[in-house]
Symmetry: C2
Subunit: 451 residues, 2 copies
């Protein structure tokens, strides 16, 4: 009988990241300075990012060496397992083989640690003492806290106040690892103070928290800023997921017909899919790549392809991407990690060019598949990851209907052990599908910056 888990030894762990910029038929247009609207150069980014990451952001090298110091930390949990979901296959009565790459085994509980460790390392070698960042639901905050701890950096996390209050467990983990977790808006920054002056009861937003974290980093020479998704260097670091998965599938003499991941800012989808995009672009492999997003925040399926700001305040460079408009306010779905108005420019470009495709689901469908998955395979998935599961379930049913033994790979980007109140809402029938706020979307798209 074939194994349920396909493991790699530490010696088999990839030692290079894959950079899709080497192989894309069309690169995204360059990021623009938010004021001059001219292409942003390294000097525009250097106040808040280290040069090592800035160079990765624009590199055209296909393979980039993973520093030994980063590999050493990766080995605390990597290579992560590739699992065959045999009991799920049986439950669905499908001839398809369903594999999932499980990134929830990281100490942070999600794939976010892959880039957090790399970012902390490059900042450390350039003499930075402290990183600031924002976090919504808290997964990224946990990952950066751990990474900073491993490299002896201080870490300050501005956590959206409503999450800070509702998800105290995530804050606890950050504090165990020595981070300073601050409810945003706070009185620590001038942007925070301005917001609090207008509305002392503000519950915060990701946009506000980004403003505070960037201001914090820009104002101190010992401090840089770190971002957990969207940017090119983040997708680079995440490529280890797909590189490992490809090696593991080869051990099982398998190759996917379809590769699936959820997609918010894009780092998780890029991580698992870009190495297969390489196969598709360079070697002509016939593999479908599916990015799955919430129908309440359908950036790739309903967004505009063009320039937009990465943040709400309009401080960041303009990025070439699919966007719902920075003023779009998505409904309060439980997948906090997928509530972003834009998307990775690299992911956006390959979707635009037809190399990858996108699909959107409502949250009740994704929770239903999450519970089916948990009851079959044991693991309680993060609400974000459940979007990928639901798509894999649909693909497995399609394979059954076509009577074809297709091979499905999806990325289980994290576990849901700190998201259990969401499951309570689902099980008690309180969880609903939010219709897309069409008026709000229309207005947000009308406000896109003119370039």
């Amino acid at each position: 009988m074939s194994d349920s888990k396909i493991l790699l030894s530490e010696k088999e762990m990839p030692t290079k990241w894959y950079n899709i910029q080497a192989d894309m038929p069309n690169l995204p247009k360059p990021a623009l300075h938010p004021e001059t609207k001219q292409p942003a150069g390294p000097e525009d980014l250097s106040p808040i990012f280290p040069m090592g990451l800035i160079m990765q952001e624009v590199s055209r090298e296909r393979w980039i060496e993973i520093p030994e110091e980063v590999q050493e930390i990766y080995r605390l949990w990597r290579p992560s397992p590739l699992c065959r979901a045999k009991r799920l296959e049986k439950a669905l009565d499908t001839p398809a083989k369903i594999y999932y790459k499980y990134e929830g085994v990281s100490p942070a509980g999600s794939h976010k640690l892959n880039t957090a460790v790399a970012q902390a390392y490059y900042n450390k070698v350039e003499g930075i003492k402290r990183l600031s960042t924002e976090t919504g639901a808290g997964q990224w905050g946990i990952a950066l806290s751990q990474a900073c701890n491993f490299f002896g950096l201080e870490c300050t996390v501005y956590m959206v106040k409503v999450s800070y209050q509702q998800k105290p467990y995530r804050r606890s983990v950050m504090e165990i690892f020595g981070a300073n977790c601050i409810a945003s808006p706070s009185n620590q920054t001038s942007s925070g103070r301005q917001i609090l002056e207008k509305d002392p009861e503000s519950l915060g937003s990701l946009g506000m928290a980004i403003s505070e974290a960037v201001e914090d980093a820009a104002g101190r020479s010992d401090t840089n800023y770190a971002l957990g998704s969207v940017l090119n260097h983040v997708t680079l670091h995440q490529s280890i997921i797909g590189l490992e998965a490809r090696e593991q599938l080869a051990k099982a003499d398998a190759y996917p017909d379809v590769v699936i991941a959820c997609c918010g800012g894009g780092s998780n989808f890029a991580g698992v899919a870009f190495p297969f995009a390489y196969d598709k672009i360079v070697k002509g492999a016939k593999v479908r790549l599916v990015a799955v997003e919430p129908s309440a925040c359908p950036t790739l399926t309903r967004g505009h392809f063009g320039y937009d700001f990465g943040d709400v305040a309009g401080f960041t460079p303009l990025l070439w991407m699919y966007t719902l408009g920075k003023d779009f306010m998505p409904p309060g779905i439980h997948s906090g990690g997928l509530r972003y108005h834009g998307d990775s420019p690299l992911v956006s470009q390959i979707v635009h060019d037809g190399i990858a495709e996108a699909r959107a689901y409502g949250q009740t469908a994704t929770f239903k598949s999450a519970v089916l998955f948990a009851k079959s395979e044991g693991v309680v998935p993060a609400p974000e990851s459940s979007h990928a599961i639901h798509c894999a379930v649909e693909e497995a049913i399609a394979a059954r209907e076509a009577d074809e033994a297709r091979t499905i790979l999806f990325n289980l980007s994290g576990h849901g052990l700190l998201d259990l109140p969401s499951y309570d809402d689902y099980l008690s029938g309180k969880l609903v599908d939010y219709p897309l706020p069409e008026d709000n979307l229309k207005k947000a798209l009308e406000q896109l910056p003119k370039v």
Copy 2:
């Protein structure tokens, strides 16, 4: 460089459990019927346990085959990794090699699933449709919920009311897996109703919850009762931990000088230590086996060795074990899994005979070592497991002082992601060491049953 993780393939997973009853120089005296005080026979246990487990309870066979159906579920997460805690070694500047077996990778988050799966299986094959159990903090309730789900059994968990209210996340996991989780005392049983009549605001206790779960099982022919620790068959199922660890250490050309685990009811300590006790008893291996308990509930280090009831109400057979007296009320430490007045008879006997030793620590020391471990290795440990970590740290420091390259193995029985409020208390300085309530202990020991 040597690997951080030593993995076994699924084909290398042990196919037999180890039964220490085959090799002990002295067996515990037999369990006695609670009323007649005569040795309890299979017929005394059959109203609430399946014959498959009753026979394991008294078996003298050294090796007992793991049924293929149980192995199939084990393969969802087993073999579990053996990790070398290199960064912890460095932090302690010790010449010792510290290995830990990590059972927190199970879907239940702890070692408890090893026996839950086996118990659900043996009940299933004997036609049982439903299991009842009690749970304190909730780890065992999660494990049995998952195991019942895998084998299509219904599951009812009586959860101590104060935990039901304080730890809603654990209840959520049980409900995801389809279990019925009831706050105890409840109005579902006559014993529950009696308690509520006297005190409608009762917050419950493990003793009350056991009474409800046993009454539930005894009253329905389709229902049996399941216990997560203490009993011989539970320690048998857990032996897979130590069997795997021994194989994994052999791959690294290593053998432990000391094997460490925390000890509440004893299943976790037995699981990792009994296969090494075999080496010690049968082959003369020089290995120390250390059971670690809280100084607030020091069963092995301060208890009486003799007969006592397993529960508070006095319904269960009398077990031959170390006990603080069933009426001993331990202080409210955060390691709910270690607050038990008795201990596994098999563990008690080998401690009494000097094959294993016991040690007790206050909780502030264990949380300090838990945070050091998390910051070194990434994993946030369960408060119970942190007792083993603290002992490993002490042993590593002793090795440094003796300048000896000793090999230390401990069992990290579970992660602490559902115990984060305890870490908040520690980090904010609210966590204290409770002195042993000597008067309460003295009275409880005076009440031991006369046999």
